[in-house]
């Protein structure tokens, strides 16, 4: 049952390692816990899931896997590991399961590690008592697990609760593939951080100073190293208005997360596509524009360019002079996009539209081509890919 749970988790996209799985087994063996299903759920989660964004996925797998678990756990006092180990062994594994174990490094490795763990634990706590090698009827007796197993009781009132914790799906909105919140964004944006050793000497290099001073016959010889600081520079272009309005909030969040992140962060708004002018204050967009050309000269080529927009518009807006819905543009949007991309080699486009709609929206296809496929969904995962592209 536990082994298949392990595989179910991996199939569900949780990268549970054997180490972590063994930790869980080790805990079960310790039998410190007179526990029930809910406690087992918490325990397994604490051992196997290391990111709250994956809690929901864990809940789903757990729910599917342990439907009706109370029944299968049997009467109070059933010995889970013994039962489990014996059953696994007696029933044998399916060909498929064997193949999967092979892919994980082989059953031997799994059992070998388990055995070692248990031996260690055994020595530590049983003072070298003769569990190992006693064999007996239980095929796993030789491995010295605690034969008393774990008590799985039905105590407590929570079994009468209508909804199981894992069925409540309380962590649904932390799932990285769905939701984008300021908190998650921060993590992803941090990928951009580069601790480049740039700039002037700023802090005292103590080890080097001492060494040099020693070499200098004790006369102080001060050495400096450049202060470490965040050298990432970013130009952020946000699409605002029109079909983007649904996404303005998400963009706002991306923006607020980004603003605290970089020493050099310049942001500009555009509508649908970048043309000869962009603006900083959306309320005064018609009064105060920044010329895109000036911007190209002002910000050096080592800036990283991030465009955020749904790229959903009429193809004219990209490919024809005068195609803009708002004003008369002398040159096509694609010309301006090319200028931007010629200057800023590190560039990505983040798109809040669901990925499955992309193939059906010609303008998204066009923009993605202009971007040389560097368009990513505006989810935490997409952001992560984008950051990788930029770094």
């Amino acid at each position: 049952m536990l082994v298949s749970f392990f595989f179910a988790l991996r199939e569900g996209g949780l990268k549970v390692s054997i180490t972590e799985f063994l930790t869980l087994l080790e805990l079960l063996k310790k039998r410190v816990i007179c526990f029930d299903v809910e406690e087992y759920y918490y325990l397994a989660r604490a051992c196997l899931v290391k990111d709250e964004a994956l809690y929901d996925r864990f809940d789903r797998v757990f729910s599917a896997h342990f439907k009706g678990i109370e029944q299968s756990f049997g009467p109070a006092g059933a010995d889970l590991p013994e039962d489990w180990l014996r059953k696994q062994f007696e029933l044998g594994l399916s060909e498929e399961e064997k193949a999967r174990i092979q892919a994980l490094g082989g059953w031997e490795i799994l059992m070998e590690t388990l055995k070692k763990r248990l031996e260690e634990q055994h020595e530590r706590h049983q003072g070298g008592d003769k569990w190992i090698g006693t064999g007996g009827t239980s095929p796993f007796g030789a491995y010295g697990y605690n034969p008393e197993g774990i008590r799985i009781g039905q105590q407590g009132s929570r079994h009468r609760r209508a909804v199981k914790v894992w069925d409540k799906r309380e962590f649904r909105n932390l799932d990285a593939s769905l939701e984008l919140g300021t908190r998650n964004l921060k993590v992803a944006l941090r990928r951009l951080r580069r601790f480049a050793r740039e700039g002037a000497a700023e802090e005292l290099d103590l080890p080097d100073t001492i060494e040099s001073t020693a070499k200098n016959a004790g006369l102080l010889d001060i050495k400096m190293v450049p202060e470490r600081h965040n050298a990432t520079k970013v130009l952020l272009f946000l699409d605002i208005g029109g079909s983007m309005d649904d996404h303005v909030r998400v963009c706002e969040e991306l923006f607020s997360a980004a603003s605290s992140e970089f020493k050099h962060l310049e942001y500009f708004y555009f509508h649908n596509c970048v043309y000869e002018g962009v603006w900083k204050d959306n309320k005064r967009r018609h009064l105060h524009r920044t010329s895109t050309m000036d911007l190209l000269h002002k910000y050096s080529a080592d800036y990283k360019l991030i465009l955020v927009g749904d790229a959903t518009m009429s193809p004219y807006e990209i490919h024809y002079p005068g195609g803009s819905v708002e004003h008369w543009n002398e040159e096509a949007g694609s010309t301006w996009m090319k200028r931007l991309l010629d200057t800023y080699h590190k560039a990505i486009w983040l798109n809040p539209e669901p990925v499955n709609r992309w193939p059906y929206t010609p303008s998204i296809q066009m923009m993605s081509e202009l971007m040389e496929q560097r368009m990513f969904p505006l989810t935490v995962n997409g952001l992560e890919q984008g950051m990788r592209e930029l770094s």
């Binding site: 809910e38 604490a46 899931v49 290391k50 809690y55 962590f171 993590v187 941090r190 001492i210």
Partner: protein, 284 residues
């Protein structure tokens, strides 16, 4: 091994998911990593584990400049350099210049300690990786004096993170993990009870309505947390604000009394005022 289980304390409310994770970490002597929104009691947890299990507490507060090595020990080269220039005798024994870090102190105690490593995500990305061996084996080597320091008792290590940086997988595999969910109303009532025992039911229930309502307001830069709720309640009590003043009819028309304790950011106050304004207009 400790047979005592952590169940929270008289001044800390620990839900069952949390205590289960903590006890797992205590049982196997492996670190536990705690994440959660600001003010969900991450830092306090370590203190309460120490109190609840009656163990000494050591704290290591991490900053952006903190190095892993500082947790083990530091070699105070400047002091030695100064002593050498002054001709001090101490200079000949390098051990005089080794300053023990919190890990070392925890390792040499005669009793199992609780060690808090607070806000690990503040440090350099390499920081957690630099501690892998020490956390695993609970030992380290002092090059200057050629000693190996081995933990007499594996300390219970509680690590907190505010999620500012991703932590490396190798590090995560060695830890238990628990994410403290923002307390639901039921739990919050317990938490408040711990801080202000015997608070009037009506006041608390109105206050919680305001508080959770505020957290729902879209677009807030900083949602008020437990800490802010507690501060606010303290003010409400001090000013003797009646529960009626918090009731929902009033709330739609004005900012809650003493809102400064809940909304600490000017932008958020403005946002809230705007929402109230819209509300009033719609009501007309």
């Amino acid at each position: 091994m400790s047979d005592k289980r952590f169940t929270g304390t008289d001044c800390y409310v620990a839900t069952e998911d949390l205590t289960t994770a903590v006890n797992a970490a205590v049982t196997l002597g492996r670190p536990i990593l705690i994440k959660g929104e600001p003010g969900t009691g991450k830092t306090q947890l370590a203190q309460e584990i120490a109190r609840g299990l009656d163990k000494p507490l050591l704290q290591w507060h991490v900053k952006s400049t903190t190095k892993a090595q500082q947790g083990l020990y530091e070699y105070d080269a400047v002091a030695r350099l100064r002593d050498s220039q002054l001709g001090d005798e101490r200079v000949h024994d390098i051990a005089n210049y080794i300053v023990k870090g919190p890990l070392w102190e925890a390792f040499e105690l005669d009793k199992q300690a609780v060690l808090l490593i607070d806000e690990i995500d503040k440090a350099d990305i390499e920081f957690p990786n630099d501690l892998l061996r020490e956390l695993d084996r609970m030992e380290f080597y002092v090059y200057e004096t050629h000693q190996t320091i081995v933990a007499k008792h594996r300390p219970i290590i509680v690590i907190t993170s505010n999620n500012e940086k991703e932590l490396p997988d190798a590090f995560l595999r060695r830890c238990f993990f628990h994410y403290i969910r923002f307390p639901d109303k039921e739990t919050m009532v317990d938490i408040v009870e711990v801080h202000y025992p015997g608070l009037k039911k009506e006041l608390l229930s109105e206050a919680l309505n305001v508080f959770y309502g505020l957290r729902e307001v879209p677009g807030l830069k900083k949602k008020p947390s437990t800490a802010e709720l507690l501060d606010w309640l303290k003010l409400l009590l001090a000013e003797d604000v009646p529960p009626e003043a918090l009731s929902s009819d009033d709330r739609r028309k004005t900012l809650p009394p003493l809102h400064g304790a809940l909304l600490k950011n000017e932008q958020d106050v403005h946002l809230f005022e705007r929402l109230i304004f819209l509300n009033q207009r719609n009501a007309r």
